[in-house]
């Protein structure tokens, strides 16, 4: 029998408490190496779509905010297109990066993204998924990055038909994936790593 000659994925390790040094050096006071921290600005004045602000805090199993988490987001543009070479359905807005990266505030743990509301993106079978933002969370004490999604509270109709939200067996956990609207274009998405109201994390 022939061998498949497959390699194994490199094992993940925690990002540790000093992830800022490598990922957001300007944020942690290491100036002059990079002009700007990667993922700081997702939009410019020409970006199409509704401007939104997404903020949140990550909490541990004791209810304490993580003050050393790093959050990355990835999302489609206002028309539902990804600014990625893999995007085959059209050309995404050239004034939108789709990628954001923020560290939690050292005192409060809060992070904030200035972005646009994403358009709907199709599921592999052609059904439309409700507008969502994909998040990836790393920190000291997290051995492998946690993947989740944020959906919008003002998209109830689309959320009710979303192919991912509807496949969650424990429907009482769906609200953990839906942000809270806190103002005009302002959303709050708190993440609970463990315990009551534990956020749904995905194996993708």
């Amino acid at each position: 029998m022939q061998s498949l000659y497959r390699l194994k994925e490199s094992p993940s390790q925690t990002a540790g408490p000093y992830v800022h040094i490598g990922c957001v050096p300007n944020f942690c006071g290491i100036g002059g190496v990079y002009e700007e921290d990667l993922g700081t600005s997702m939009v410019n004045e020409k970006t199409k779509g509704e401007r939104i602000k997404v903020s949140g805090t990550v909490y541990d199993g004791t209810g304490t905010p993580l003050k050393d988490a790093l959050i990355e987001i990835w999302q489609a543009d206002a028309d539902g297109l990804y600014p990625s070479p893999e995007e085959t359905r059209g050309t995404a807005d050239p004034n939108f990066t789709g990628f954001g990266r923020k560290a939690g505030d050292y005192q409060t743990g809060e992070w904030v993204f200035e972005t646009v509301k994403p358009g709907a993106v199709p599921f592999p079978d052609g059904r439309m998924m409700a507008p969502h933002i994909t998040l990836w969370i790393v920190a000291r004490g997290i051995n492998i990055g946690l993947q989740t999604r944020m959906y919008f509270p003002d998209e109830a109709e689309a959320n009710a038909k979303d192919p991912i939200l509807t496949r969650i067996e424990h429907q009482n956990r769906v609200p953990t994936l839906i942000a809270e609207k806190t103002g005009d274009g302002a959303y709050r998405f708190d993440i609970y790593l463990q315990g009551e109201n534990e956020t749904v994390f995905f194996d993708i």
């Binding site: 040094i21 990835w74 995007e87 492998i144």
Partner: protein
């Protein structure tokens, strides 16, 4: 529901969760309150996971991959044993991953990080910041220069010391490939005493995080070389779509 005959996007191999660390690893104490207690929800990969940001070489500054110089005053450089770290970013099928952004960060030669929350008594090096980045070439290769980081003590059990290590963050082609890991150095006895290394369930997995000293690639009278390959999740091609050679 509008069903179409579009080809599904090619997905990544399922992650082998038995090969990767568990979330809850009590020997690494911080994981106890930071590990989800519910099972992860398995979902099909969609465009949101198979796409991801890809960064252009034009984002890099000329010293981004040289930690001996990128924080140093003109004419000076960081103190410590000079090293070159090189290797390839591959996928599980053994293909090089081109245009992958690789970021790295580390302590200085004395084990001290340049971070305000770090209080270890070893001094900072005024010419060492500790961060760098590069983007892989067409064959997935990358390299950077640095100094050998020192081990450092950390508050876990009574007398835990991290082995010398460099943190790595890698972006592949899809957000599902996103990975952060740590590189260790051949022959370091602390590797086998470290509760963070110990979260990796298989010894072969740990060995795959240990860079090998490479005397052939060492630059005489300058810097020793260590080879460190990184493997990201493999990808199924959709036959005839864009890779005529198939898988």
């Amino acid at each position: 529901m509008s069903l179409t005959n579009q080809r599904p996007a090619a997905g990544f191999f399922a992650r082998d969760r038995g090969w990767q660390p568990e979330a809850l690893t009590p020997q690494y104490k911080t994981s106890v309150a930071r590990s989800p207690s519910r099972a992860l929800l398995t979902m099909p990969q969609t465009l949101s996971e198979v796409t991801g940001p890809v960064f252009g070489h034009n984002m890099l500054g000329p010293l981004d991959n040289d930690l001996t110089l990128n924080f140093a005053k003109p004419g000076e450089s960081a103190i410590g044993p000079r090293i070159i770290v090189y290797g390839r970013v591959l996928d599980e099928a053994g293909r090089g991953v081109p245009n992958a952004l690789v970021e790295f960060w580390q302590a200085n030669a004395g084990g001290r990080y340049r971070h305000k929350k770090e209080s270890y008594i070893a001094p900072l090096d005024p010419n060492f910041g500790g961060c760098g980045r590069c983007i892989t070439a067409e064959d997935g290769s990358y390299e950077f220069r640095s100094i050998l980081p020192g081990p450092y003590p950390w508050p876990n059990r009574g007398n835990d010391w991290r082995p010398a290590h460099i943190h790595f963050s890698i972006f592949g082609q899809g957000f599902a490939q996103r990975l952060i890991t740590q590189m260790y150095f051949e022959g370091d006895p602390l590797i086998w005493k470290c509760p963070i290394v110990d979260v990796v369930p298989h010894r072969e997995g740990i060995e795959s995080l240990i860079a090998a000293l490479d005397m052939e690639s060492t630059v005489p009278m300058d810097a020793r070389a260590y080879k460190f390959d990184i493997v990201l999740r493999g990808r199924r091609s959709t036959l005839f779509e864009n890779r005529l050679e198939g898988n």
